[in-house]
Structure formats: structure tokens, C-alpha cells
Symmetry: C2
Subunit: 352 residues, 2 copies
């Protein structure tokens, strides 16, 4: 099931390994400031419980940077400091024990960015060089008339910055080239994959609220994952970041990159559907949202594709013409169950 | 913006054209039986208002087939009859004036399927040959050990069925090879695109409820759309089918295939965010859900990527350090607005 991954270098981020065949790491970002130490740690715990493996924290000011050591000391996940505009904040974050610093040399200034690089190098801490389409200098952007051309400009910028870090002997880089434009992102990441061995952090920026953001992220990241590109990813959604994790897990699972969690197969309801399938499905998805075993569970309303799909799932229900549901497990029909008991029977079978 | 489309034949479906450079058609399926004529027509109207262009109706029994002519006569959208198991129902649907029949010869029987083909040919009505992974005969499925191999088997089946229809002189075919497995679907559609000129109907079956189904559909269909494959698509979601349309529109828009509706660019909220961006964004998306002009609207919380992204959108808001929002239009900053008036100002500017 695992497609060929593009070869990258191995980079350590705290207890995690990125790249060179390591599982693609799921990450997210808190919506709290690290000044709110307790709230930040509570959000990190929620993210970790949902399956998040690496967490980024914005460090917008000195107060946030000062509070960061209390977060890094107690966080169960490696912490990445997200820094903009101020090299001083990056140095404070490094001193606070973060596992990675994310900077955009475009808004730090090239020299100050390299100073951060030297500090991180001496501490053995990874740096993500994150170029965003919104921060490409106008002079570079002007020639880029198509999303593809803009993507190439972003990738070239990231590679220039990375070269600077290589020259000072920094050996733990991660690169990202996020855009809110799917076509620009695809062009940027494909170009990077051809021109660097550093691990790549995938993401679409400013993707939108839960549904539209998830669709845009899936549309932009699926082609890359299928091509073996990407060593870590974040699905950026506006709202509670915990919602990002099942979307990221699902994306990894359906592209065959990494099986995490339950894949629910459900038919669209139609004129043939038995029972209130929408409610049944919602309950199955809710109850299994944090099940991390890689299982396929089918919830099918009728006999057209129902038994076929259910039979090839690990567990399944398929509506029978008499209004009851056939319960399947490991490819075998077990028994018929009344519609109002069908989900209970399915969940009991899965939890056995 | 429009990527190269794979060349297909032109097929007419009622007033619509599919294939050969025609815009990729967005379709859905009612959850009502056509026996409920009023409810079915009401759902078709809702779908049409949301941007649906072609609607499929399940025809599970003779009563449904008899009621179908009342639906086709009053429907504002061309109607596709979805037929399983019974050739007789297909003939009744054709007599009821549908614009296309969707059959799976695998469950009709090859001879009876061709009888339907002759009837449709004589009436000048298009036929979709829809192979589903769940209905691949076990004997054919047995050798297919990987999703890719299963996809190829599905495509080969569809091509065999299509050859039968070509032999009897049917000249208006559409092919689909849906699976609930993204990798199998990709392999199946790519194989078809290489081996047939008939237009392709894209979809992932049994994708799931709104969020998980949209993510799976986006992950599976985006690579195909980006490769120029697909002449019509359905995003299958369990629940109200109206929800399928904005997802389909968004997928077409972000892959550059067809700009329909508003693309909202929004930052994930973080420690730097000004104001209640999640609520602001939700309102912008809600108010513009049925705006069909192809616009890009940015809603950004802060200054890191905010002004840059907002400037490149048709309309935008970006949080300023003083707690107000900068309103942009056509790349130019217009004025600063208080946070609680910012969405109103943005919507007024768009509606001007």
C-alpha cells in the first residue's frame, strides 16, 4: 500500500525523525499565545490525544518568548516556535528549548536569519525555512504570471535561503513553500522535490474554515503525497486545530502513505436507502474518531453496492430488503440486526 | 488557468454537452424516490439553485419508473435514471423521457444491457456505463491484489461493456469506474483516459459524510482533474445532496479546471490573530455560498501574511495591529474598519 517516497535526508526534531523513510509526521499549531501557559498546554494535550505528533506555537512578542520554556518543559509533543519579523524572538525561543524554529528569512532579513541559523546549529536544533506566497518580494513576484511560475519563484527563494544555511554548516533543515493557491503550491513543492534533499513540510496556507479548508488541503496535498513528496504535513483550518488532525490522518490513509485511524466507507443516501443512514453514519464516525487502529468500516444503505463493499471492509453493515441490516466482520456475514440496533452491534464487534 | 484537458468525444445529455472541451459538468443525485414527485422536484430545484447542472434519480421499482415522466416533464435540469438489476426499469425510464440512463451491465446481464442500449440508441439518449468496485465479479477481482490492479480490472470491464455498445451503434456513452478506494479509482480512471475517447464521469463511491466524504473526494478527484481527466463529476456525500455542489465547484476552481463561485482565502487562527476570525469567516462563507461569480475573497487575521494575501485577492480583509481591519478591493487598500463592522463592509463592497 505504501507508494514510493521521494528520498530525503533524515532530520531530528526532538524525539521525532523527519524524512528518509520515517512515517510522514502530522502536525498542527496552537491558537493560544504561549503567554497563556496552561491554555497552551491544554491545547497541546488535546492535539496529542487526537493524534498530533508535533506542535507549532506562535511567538509574537517577548512575553510569549519568555513564557515558552514553561511550555516546552511540560509539553508531551516537541514544540516548534513560529517566528516572524524578529530574530531576537528566535534566539529567545531557542534558549527556551524548542525542538525546531520556523522562520521566513524574507521577513527576518538574510543576515539575521543566518545568525538564528548559527544559534540553532550550535544547539543542534532544526530550522524550518518557510516561504509563503504572501511574503514573496514584489520584485520576484512580478515576473511570475501564472500560479506555476509563482510556485517556482517560491521554491527558488527557499533553496537560496537553504544554501545560506548549508554554508554555515546547519545540518537540520526542513523546507516549506505554502500558498493559498493549489496550483502554485503544487508547482513549488514539485520543484523543491527535484532540487533538494531536505525534508519537506507540506501545507496549503489560508485554506479556509473546516469544510472548504479541508477540501482545498486535500486537493493540494493529495497529488504530492501520491507522488511520494512530503515528510510532514499540516492541514491548516480556521477554527479549533484539533479538527485538523483527523483530516490529516484521512489524507495520509486514502493516499496509501500511512494508515492511521478508521476509514469509513458509506454510500450516499439515495431513493433506495434503508433506514436513517445519515444519522447511523454520523454516530459511527463520531464513536470511532479517535480509534487509531487502521480499520476499514463500511456503512451501506442497500444491496446495490452494499454487500460487496461491506464484504471487503474489516467491519460493515449493509441494509437488507427486509429493513434489517446485515453485519459483516472480516469479510464474513455474521447475522441480521434490527435497524435501531445495527450501529450498537457494529461498534460492539469492532471493540471486541 | 485552464489546464490541458484530455480529448474526449462530445456527448449530448438533454440540453447539456459533455466532453470535447465542454465545461466539466457538476452533477448530483436526489435522495427521494421519483414516486414522491413533488419532493423530488423540490430537491431538484434546490440542487439547481446551488449550481447543480445534471441530476440523477434512483429508479428502484416500477412505481418509481411510472412516476418518472412527471419528474422529467417538470425538471429544470436534465434527469439521469439510475438503474440496477432490471432492464425493464431502464426501458420504462427511457420511455419517461430521461436525458441519460445510468446502468451497470454487470448487474443487468450483458444481453439485457445491450437491449437497453438499442432502445437508448433509437431514442438518441446517452447511456452511462457505471462500473463500481463493489460489483466487480469475484472471478475478475481475485487476481487483483493491489488497488492499482483492481482499478485496471474495473477499467477493462467498462471498456468491454463499451465495446458491446459501440458494436450496436450506440454513439453517446459516458463511462465511470468508481471505487471507495482512492488508489483504485485513480488507476481505473487513468487507464480509461488512455484507452477510450468516451467522456468520463468522475466520482469516489461511498465517500462518507460531509467532511470525510469531501476530503476523500478531493483527494481522489484532484489528481485526475489536474491531469485533464474528467468531463463531469459528482462528489458523493451521505446527507443532503445540496452540500455536494459547493464542494464540487470548489474542487473545479482550485484545480484551475473551471472557476465557479467564490474562493475564500482565510488564515488559520493562531496566537497572533485579531478578533473572532472564525465567526467572521463563517459568515463570509455563508453569505457568499451561492455567489456564482468567480471571485477570490481573503479574510486574514493579522499582518504576517494578511496584507500580502488580501492584496492579491479580488476583495479582502486583513487585521491591523490597532485591532481594526484593512479593507482591500482589486489589490488596493480602501480604508480601515472596526472589527465588528468589517464583514458588513466587505460584503457591501463585493455586492456593489
Amino acid at each position: 500500500m505504501t507508494p514510493h517516497r521521494q528520498r530525503t535526508r533524515r532530520v531530528r526534531v526532538g524525539k521525532l525523525a523527519l524524512g528518509h523513510g520515517a512515517p510522514v509526521v502530522v502536525q498542527s499549531m496552537t491558537t493560544t499565545s504561549p503567554r497563556q501557559v496552561k491554555a497552551t498546554l491544554a491545547q497541546i494535550r488535546k492535539l496529542a490525544n487526537a493524534g498530533c505528533e508535533l506542535v507549532r506555537v506562535a511567538v509574537p512578542d517577548e512575553g510569549a518568548a519568555q513564557a515558552l520554556s514553561a511550555v516546552t518543559a511540560a509539553s508531551s509533543l516537541p514544540v516548534v516556535a513560529d517566528i516572524h519579523f524578529s530574530a531576537e524572538l528566535a534566539h529567545l525561543a531557542l534558549a527556551a528549548g524548542v525542538a525546531k524554529v520556523r522562520i521566513n528569512p524574507g521577513n527576518l532579513g538574510a543576515e539575521k536569519a543566518l545568525e538564528v541559523g548559527r544559534d540553532a546549529r550550535d544547539r543542534g536544533v532544526a530550522v524550518r525555512i518557510g516561504v509563503n506566497s504572501g511574503s514573496v518580494p514584489e520584485a520576484r513576484r512580478r515576473g511570475a504570471k501564472t500560479p506555476g511560475a509563482l510556485g517556482k519563484v517560491m521554491a527558488e527563494l527557499a533553496l537560496e535561503y537553504a544554501q545560506g544555511f548549508e554554508k554555515i554548516g546547519h545540518k537540520a533543515l526542513v523546507l516549506s513553500v505554502k500558498s493559498s493557491d493549489v496550483l502554485a503550491s503544487l508547482a513549488a513543492y514539485r520543484y523543491l522535490a527535484q532540487h533538494t534533499l531536505w525534508p519537506l513540510h507540506l501545507g496549503i496556507t489560508e485554506a479556509g474554515s473546516v469544510l472548504t479548508g479541508a477540501v482545498k488541503s486535500a486537493a493540494g496535498l493529495s497529488p504530492l503525497l501520491l507522488e511520494g513528496i512530503g515528510d510532514t504535513l499540516r492541514v491548516s483550518l480556521t477554527g479549533d486545530p484539533v479538527q485538523e488532525i483527523p483530516v490529516a490522518n484521512q489524507l495520509l490513509a486514502v493516499t496509501g502513505v500511512r494508515r492511521r485511524g478508521v476509514e469509513v466507507i458509506a454510500c450516499p443516501t439515495c431513493g433506495r436507502t434503508q433506514g436513517d443512514l445519515t444519522a447511523m453514519l454520523a454516530r459511527v464516525e463520531r464513536e470511532l474518531a479517535f480509534e487509531m487502529r487502521p480499520l476499514t468500516v463500511a456503512v451501506m444503505g442497500c444491496v446495490v453496492n452494499g454487500p460487496g463493499e461491506a464484504r471487503h471492509a474489516d467491519f460493515g453493515l449493509a441494509g437488507a430488503p427486509d429493513g434489517r441490516f446485515l453485519l459483516f466482520a472480516k469479510g464474513k456475514p455474521l447475522r441480521k440486526v434490527a435497524a435501531d440496533k445495527a450501529v450498537d452491534a457494529l461498534l460492539a464487534e469492532i471493540k471486541k
